[in-house]
């Protein structure tokens, strides 16, 4: 016992003397991604595979090609169970197409040619690497990922088993359509913009005659009125949205949000006590400038991709317009049909405007005074 103990001491002491070693265990994984297709090659040291699945069948400390060949299935099963590729939450299963061998600086390696496919073209590849960490925690997986002319490298270790690798910037069309969707969504959840627009549109099917509302005679006249208002609003908010998104203009968000609430209040009250009727397009333009700043703050939260700034900006704007058009398309036929009745003038126009004004006043109070009145 004494001798054993002493022996260990001597060795541990000397252990501190310079590390002599060649490198520790690595595997070399290269993947090439092309749309949804993945081709790859995985070099795993025979020494490591001997520890993991056993290769040296006759126990003579020499591994022959026959011994490796006899274990090809076991090698493939062992390796593939420890490498999970996925993209967009869906698995990209791999299989081994060919077994070869190669030599690296620390010995002979089994070479596995891999092939697989993802359900969708890959933009981000999620790699979950778990080879050998249980047998040798100092093992590392060295990945080289190619996509067209671009190459990325990554190192997998026990504390970095899972990594998400950007294969390519998403396509231009994809980026554009993403921002269109953001724009539509923002109009859809942005009640202040909807209510402002609705307040301006409610009287579009009517005309003011001797201090009283009357239904317009033709759809054409109503459409032209709507068109003028929507166009003016769009022009104005596109202008300020662009200037703010490009950093040329900026206003404090509390001021912007309060001004937007105020614009809704004024637009609704104007329906109850009309001051401006003919010039509502001008009002839409003036207040549209404020609403543009509101859109810009949303866009700032989303972040604009540097490579596709203009494209995303246009996309977001187009989305906002599409959202508006949807509102108009739902509103106009219905309002036109109801325009002559008392119901429209009393309930829809007067009642609706009063309700909108009330809600917007609460917003205004909340935003200007930083209160929380509505849940």
């Amino acid at each position: 016992m004494m001798a054993r103990c002493l022996f260990l001491m001597a060795l541990l002491f000397a252990c501190a003397l310079p590390a002599q070693a060649h490198k520790a265990s690595d595997s070399y994984l290269s993947l090439n991604v092309q749309n949804e297709r993945i081709d790859g090659q995985w070099d795993i040291a025979l020494r490591d595979l001997e520890m993991a699945v056993g290769l040296d069948a006759n126990n003579d400390a020499a591994i022959t090609w026959d011994e490796v060949r006899a274990r090809h299935e076991a090698i493939a099963a062992y390796a593939l169970a420890r490498l999970k590729l996925s993209s967009g939450g869906e698995a990209c299963p791999l299989h081994v197409t060919q077994h070869l061998v190669d030599t690296h600086t620390d010995g002979a390696y089994a070479v596995l040619r891999l092939q697989g496919a993802c359900p969708q073209p890959v933009t981000t590849l999620n790699v979950d690497y778990n080879l050998l960490f249980d047998i040798d925690p100092q093992h590392k997986g060295l990945l080289r990922l190619t996509h067209g002319a671009a190459t990325t490298a990554a190192i997998f270790a026990p504390d970095a088993r899972r990594q998400d690798l950007q294969v390519a910037a998403p396509s231009r069309w994809r980026q554009f359509s993403d921002y269109v969707r953001h724009g539509v969504w923002h109009i859809w959840i942005g009640f202040d913009h909807i209510l402002f627009l609705v307040s301006l549109l409610l009287p579009a099917v009517l005309v003011r005659h001797e201090g009283r509302w009357q239904g317009r005679d033709t759809l054409r006249a109503s459409v032209i009125d709507v068109l003028k208002i929507v166009t003016a609003f769009t022009l104005a908010h596109s202008l300020t949205l662009t200037l703010a998104a490009l950093g040329a203009l900026s206003l404090p968000s509390r001021l912007v949000e309060s001004a937007i609430a105020a614009s809704v209040v004024l637009a609704a009250l104007n329906n109850l006590w009309p001051l401006v009727h003919r010039w509502r397009a001008l009002v839409a333009f003036a207040f549209g400038l404020i609403h543009g700043f509101g859109f810009a703050s949303v866009l700032a939260d989303l972040g604009l991709p540097q490579g596709a700034l203009v494209l995303s900006l246009v996309g977001f704007n187009v989305g906002v317009e599409l959202g508006q058009l949807a509102i108009v398309a739902a509103f106009l036929p219905l309002a036109y049909a109801l325009r002559r009745g008392l119901f429209y003038r009393r309930v829809v126009l007067a009642g609706g405007s009063a309700l909108i004004a009330l809600i917007a006043m609460v917003w205004l109070a909340e935003r200007a005074l930083d209160l929380k009145l509505l849940a």
Partner: protein, 390 residues
């Protein structure tokens, strides 16, 4: 865009060294790989321990025994894979801040082997707080302190071994410190006498002490005594890779490159020995030097790909002696010096400082010579060429 091109180029270079073309061997009987250890019974013993531990992975005694055996094996073969296997054996306790003492001492040893000196010391101090009589922890602590240049700390750790460890171990510990901190001759003499008096010590301990005595004698400028010590150590174990490295350096210093070539011809598996082999080939003007240098370059590239910085000392020597890139060498030697401060680290720093005329490296060497009072005949001429303190 330029960055992308550079990255691609770097990758292209890396892939050049990462193997030629995969192939299918011509014959099924072709031997692709020889497992280290060969038919040595030690390999069977390790396999047996592994199987036993796999059946009962929470058996502390079995796990620490296997980890110890792997650490010993790693040192002897110069193969870091064994260090990973040792860590795996300790897996159930590896992430416990307060693991069993036996695990923490081994964990400190493994951490130190990857140059995580501060966490290693934390582990050892936790063990010693629990059990101030743990001589293994004191010895490992002394080692880490010595490597990092904390001579006062190392000396007091060695002192704690008195009456807890065999006299030869205590003297070796103390001499190792004294030899590089102003008491070179006295330390050497005391260790030499203890070595003679304790001839009944186990061979592995005697081999280790003989190696230390050889290095000390070389630094004291007594080549004949050094050679006798090295030869005695070789008689115990002619395969020990640390000993082979130290003996080769001694021979290279005396212009005996052909002997190094014969000695290391079949032992180039370990990078540190391939380095000495390539330098010997170059010094002897042999045409194989280019091939050995290229092989070594590929190994350093492979280590860098996995972001290993454990071999900066060897890499600095490679850049200086084989590639003749003094600027790269001094940069690596300075990075290495920030981590470890053994005589070999000082030596390569001094040599690269002289070759590159790097004023910072020169200042570090001169300051260290003055503060540590190390005496080293093997760097005397290099230091002289650095000139007096500016």
């Amino acid at each position: 865009m330029l960055g992308k091109i550079i990255v691609s180029l770097a990758c292209a270079c890396a892939s050049l060294t990462a193997g030629a073309a995969p192939y299918i061997p011509a014959s099924g009987a072709q031997v692709l790989e020889r497992l280290p250890g060969g038919l040595d019974p030690a390999r069977r013993e390790l396999q047996g321990l592994r199987t036993a531990l796999a059946a009962n992975p929470h058996n502390l005694d079995l796990a620490t025994r296997l980890a110890q055996r792997y650490i010993e094996q790693s040192r002897r073969d110069g193969d870091p894979r064994y260090l990973g296997y040792a860590q795996a054996a300790l897996a159930p306790w590896w992430n416990q801040p307060q693991a069993p003492s036996s695990v923490m001492v081994l964990r400190a040893t493994l951490r130190q082997s990857t140059h995580q000196f501060a966490p290693a010391l934390t582990d050892l101090e936790a063990v010693l707080k629990r059990d101030s009589g743990n001589s293994q922890a004191w010895l490992t602590r002394a080692t880490v302190q010595l490597i990092t240049g904390d001579f006062a700390g190392a000396r007091s750790s060695c002192m704690r071994l008195y009456s807890r460890a065999p006299e030869l171990v205590v003297q070796a510990c103390l001499a190792n410190v004294g030899n590089v901190s102003g008491q070179a001759a006295a330390s050497y003499e005391r260790l030499r006498q203890t070595y003679i008096a304790r001839a009944d010590s186990p061979p592995a301990l005697r081999a280790w002490v003989a190696t230390l005595l050889g290095e000390m004698a070389a630094r004291l400028g007594r080549p004949d005594a050094a050679e006798a010590h090295f030869r005695e150590a070789l008689a115990f174990d002619a395969e020990d890779s640390y000993l082979l490295g130290a003996w080769s350096d001694f021979l290279l210093d005396r212009g005996r490159a052909p002997e190094v070539i014969t000695l290391l011809k079949d032992k180039t598996q370990a990078d540190a020995l391939l380095l000495r082999y390539a330098i010997a080939l170059k010094n002897a003007g042999r045409p194989e030097a280019a091939g050995a240098t290229a092989e070594l370059a590929a190994r350093f590239d492979a280590a860098m790909r996995r972001r290993d910085s454990v071999h900066q000392r060897e890499q600095a020597r490679f850049e200086l002696a084989l590639r003749g890139d003094a600027a790269a060498a001094v940069r690596l030697a300075k990075l290495n010096w920030a981590v470890q401060k053994e005589p070999a680290d000082l030596r390569i720093l001094a040599q690269t400082a002289a070759a590159s005329k790097d004023p910072e490296a020169r200042a570090i060497v001169q300051a260290w010579l003055a503060s540590s009072r190390i005496e080293d005949a093997t760097i005397a001429s290099t230091v002289a060429s650095l000139g007096s303190k500016a």
